[in-house]
Structures are given as structure tokens and as C-alpha cells.
């Protein structure tokens, strides 16, 4: 589903990503872990087609980036740590706007479905700026899957959420992942990642230094695995 070969990203004279190889099969849930500054967000932005690689190949759902970016975008959903929502519009209006931007055939129906899925149906006519961070994040996820994408990317989705909100987010994430979608999530919260992911990759110093599936890794060893990967 996602194929990345020898990805290099430079900002001027600084090289952030130094030849990343990354492959994800359809339906996998990959947790991309790594220390701050390792380049996780940069990497995700390139996958999201928001940034261009300096060198290397990226293809998603069979389409090449950056040349076939539009086709990729139609099949991609992104949740970043910023909500990407308009505060002065209602939840309903926000989703309708994005529905139109994605040229969905039955916007109204779809919007209602999504609002129910993320548990914000009762607040649909409320302005987003009145929402708590947790509610905004749930709505943001709703926005990301509005067009029923095959691939969903999450960049640190749990940032700034309290325990309750995090639990709610867990539920929503499970629903999203359950439909057989391919998910890549970055996080520095190992505990959350453990529960949801089927595979764990570590991004360190600009390359993927380690990768292990859930089966290969016994539950308690994730932290050890992580620390080991950083040393390498």
C-alpha cells in the first residue's frame, strides 16, 4: 500500500531523512516511534503529500508522489496535532466544507454518518471553537475519514489530551482501523501505540533503525526494543 525507497529530505544544507526505506501492506497499523527531532513529522508530511522529498521514491496505493499527488490525496486521510478545523464554523459546516472539497456525491448523509461515528452528533450545530481539545481531535479524525480513504496518517494524535479524551480517541481509532484501512501513526507515547499497532518501526537519526511486528515482540519488551534501536 505504501512503498518508500531511499527517501532523502534536505532543508537547505541540513539532511533530516537519510535514505528511509519503508513498506506497509494493506491493513497494517504501523506505529512509527522515535525521539523528538528524528524526522517523524517530516516523514509523515512527505507521505501526506504536503512536502516533497529531495530524493527517493514514494508511492501510495499504487500512485507516485509527487506526480500523481491528486490521486493519492483522494485516498489519503491525515490527522495532525493541529485540528485543521475552522473555529467559526459549526461541526456540521466544517465537515460539509471538506465534503465539498473532496467532491463527495452525498455530502449530507456522509456528514451525519461521521458525526455519529465520532460521537459528536449532538453537538453538530455548535461552533468548533467551543469544543474541548478532545472533541476537536475526534472531529478532526472524522474529517480525515470523511472521504473513506484507504490510508490514514496520524501525527501525534494524543497530544494535549487528558485520560478521558484519550480513551475516547482509542475507541475512534479502533473503529477507523477496524475497517481494514492502512494506518501509520507517529507517537512518543509507547503505551498507546502498544495497544493499537500491529507493527512497530523506529525512526532514529534519519533512517528506520528497527522494525518488528506485534507477534515478534512480546508485550513487555517494547520499551527495551525501543531503547535498543536508538543505540544502534
Amino acid at each position: 500500500m505504501i512503498t518508500v525507497k531511499k527517501l532523502v529530505k534536505r532543508f537547505g544544507l541540513k539532511t533530516i531523512l537519510r535514505g528511509v526505506d519503508f513498506e506497509v501492506q494493506p491493513g497494517e497499523f504501523v506505529a512509527l516511534l522515535g525521539p523528538n527531532g528524528a524526522g517523524k513529522t517530516t516523514f509523515l508530511r512527505i507521505l501526506a503529500s504536503l512536502s516533497r522529498s529531495s530524493l527517493g521514491e514514494v508511492s501510495i496505493a499504487g500512485y507516485q508522489l509527487p506526480n500523481q499527488a491528486a490521486q493519492v490525496r483522494a485516498r489519503l486521510g491525515v490527522v495532525s496535532h493541529l485540528p485543521l478545523l475552522y473555529g467559526d464554523l459549526t461541526a456540521d459546516e466544517n465537515l460539509r466544507f471538506y465534503g465539498r472539497m473532496y467532491n463527495l456525491p452525498n455530502v449530507e448523509q456522509r456528514v451525519t454518518e461521521i458525526l455519529e461515528m465520532v460521537g459528536l452528533d449532538t453537538r453538530r450545530r455548535d461552533l468548533v471553537r467551543t469544543f474541548s481539545r478532545g472533541m476537536q481531535q475526534r472531529l478532526a479524525i472524522g474529517r480525515a475519514v470523511l472521504h473513506d480513504p484507504d490510508v490514514v496518517l496520524f501525527d501525534e494524535p494524543y497530544t494535549g489530551l487528558d485520560q478521558d479524551a484519550s480513551s475516547m480517541l482509542d475507541e475512534v481509532l479502533k473503529t477507523v482501523a477496524a475497517k481494514g484501512r492502512t494506518v501509520v501513526m507517529t507517537s512518543h507515547d509507547l503505551a498507546r501505540a502498544e495497544d493499537l499497532a500491529t507493527r512497530f518501526d523506529i525512526l532514529s537519526r534519519g533512517v528506520i533503525s528497527a522494525s518488528a511486528t506485534r507477534k515478534e515482540l512480546k508485550r513487555t519488551n517494547l520499551l527495551a526494543f525501543y531503547k535498543q534501536a536508538l543505540v544502534n
Binding site: F11, G12, L13, K14
Partner: protein
């Protein structure tokens, strides 16, 4: 550290020489009947104006080239070209002012050429202020190119607009080319001084331009080396 190429060193010397010769010729050219000695400012005024204009057009073209190729080399050329043009336009404006005062009893004339030069200066300054506020070199180059392109299209339109519309301040002396609007005519000697000045400033422009590019390259090298050391 690469030493200055021989050609460039020769060019440096040649530039200083031609500047000297041009000055000598200008000072010793026949004095104009009506305006007196101050008219001699005109030789340098046109020299710098003409080369600044070439720099301006060059910058516009470089914008397009960069946006198509995305090669940072063109960005360095554009920065050099705009920097040198900026200084040359400034000299043009100052000399124009010095000429205007004794000749027409005013420090500034709102004629099309001078006004457009001033507007272009402001566009250049804005260009550098835009670049200042951006850290990422690629974005800096892209934004610079876009703005320079917009400026390159806008300034000529400004020139024509002023020429067509502002009848309140008539084009008294045609600003920088009195010949065209009947300011004064030139004798053969004056003509030689005039064309030599044009030639001299072209040489000087190329010299400064080349030096500036080299400076930009060296700056980049320093940045690269700094990174190597800190890693």
C-alpha cells in the same frame, strides 16, 4: 578556500581603471552652455541607470528560470543581480537629485523615470525583507523568485502609467535622457564621454555582480562547513 580567479582579479583592476578614465573624461568634457558644470553628473547618472535597468530585467528572467528549474544556483544569481541593481539605482536617484537642484531648483522631479526608479528601489528592499523572514533556503528562493517576478512585471507598468496619466507634473527634461525630450544636445566630445561612461559602468556592474556571486558561494560553503563541525 579557492583564491579569486585570475580573470576576476583582472576585471577588478580594469573596473577601477575604467571608472577613473570615465571620471576624467566626464570632468574634462565640454561644459554645457545652460546648466554648467553640474550637467556632468549626467554621464554617471545614465551609466548607473542603464546598468541597473539591465540588472532589473535580468532579475526578472532569473525568477522564471529558477521557478522552472528549482536549482538554487539561479537564486544566488538573482540575489546578486538585485543587490547590485539596488545600489546602482540608488546612485542614479542620488545623482538625479544632485543634478536637479541647481539645474531646475528642485531636489526631486516626479517624472516617470525617476519615480519608477524609486518604486523599483522599494520593491528591491521589500524583496530583501521578505527573504530575511524565511529560514528555509528553498522557500526563501521560491518566494524571492515569485516576488521578483511580480515586481519585474509591475515596475514597467508603473512607468507607463505615470507617463500616460500624470499631466500635473509634465516630463520636463525626460529625466535621464534629455536628448529625447529636448534638454540639451551633445557635441562629439560629450558623446564620447557619454558612451564611455556607459561602457565603464557595464564593466563595473559585471565585476560587482561576479564578486557578489562568489561571495554567495563562499557563504554557502561556510554554512556547510559549520554543519560538518557541529555534527
Amino acid at each position: 578556500m579557492q583564491p579569486k580567479p585570475l580573470t576576476l582579479r583582472i576585471l577588478d583592476i580594469v573596473s577601477i581603471l575604467v571608472l577613473g578614465i570615465a571620471t576624467y573624461m566626464a570632468l574634462n568634457a565640454p561644459t554645457e552652455r545652460v546648466m554648467g558644470e553640474v550637467q556632468k553628473v549626467f554621464y554617471f547618472h545614465i551609466g548607473t541607470a542603464w546598468t541597473a535597468l539591465i540588472g532589473f530585467i535580468l532579475a526578472g528572467v532569473l525568477s522564471v528560470v529558477y521557478l522552472i528549474t528549482k536549482d538554487l544556483k539561479w537564486d544566488r544569481l538573482q540575489v546578486a543581480s538585485i543587490e547590485v541593481s539596488l545600489v546602482f539605482f540608488l546612485i542614479t536617484i542620488l545623482l538625479g537629485s544632485i543634478w536637479a537642484r541647481p539645474a531646475w531648483n528642485t531636489w526631486w522631479t516626479w517624472d516617470p523615470r525617476l519615480t519608477t526608479a524609486a518604486v523599483t528601489e522599494l520593491i528591491y528592499v521589500a524583496y530583501f525583507m521578505l527573504r530575511q523572514g524565511i529560514d528555509d533556503p528553498d522557500r526563501r528562493a521560491r518566494f524571492g523568485a515569485v516576488y521578483a517576478l511580480v515586481g519585474a512585471l509591475s515596475a514597467p507598468i508603473t512607468f507607463f502609467a505615470i507617463r500616460l496619466f500624470r499631466t500635473i507634473h509634465p516630463v520636463v527634461i525626460g529625466g535621464t535622457n534629455p536628448e529625447a525630450d529636448g534638454g540639451f544636445s551633445m557635441t562629439a566630445d560629450m558623446r564620447i564621454a557619454f558612451f564611455f561612461a556607459l561602457f565603464a559602468f557595464s564593466i563595473i556592474f559585471i565585476d560587482l555582480f561576479w564578486n557578489r556571486i562568489r561571495l554567495g558561494d563562499l557563504q554557502d560553503r561556510v554554512e556547510q562547513l559549520k554543519l560538518k563541525v557541529t555534527m
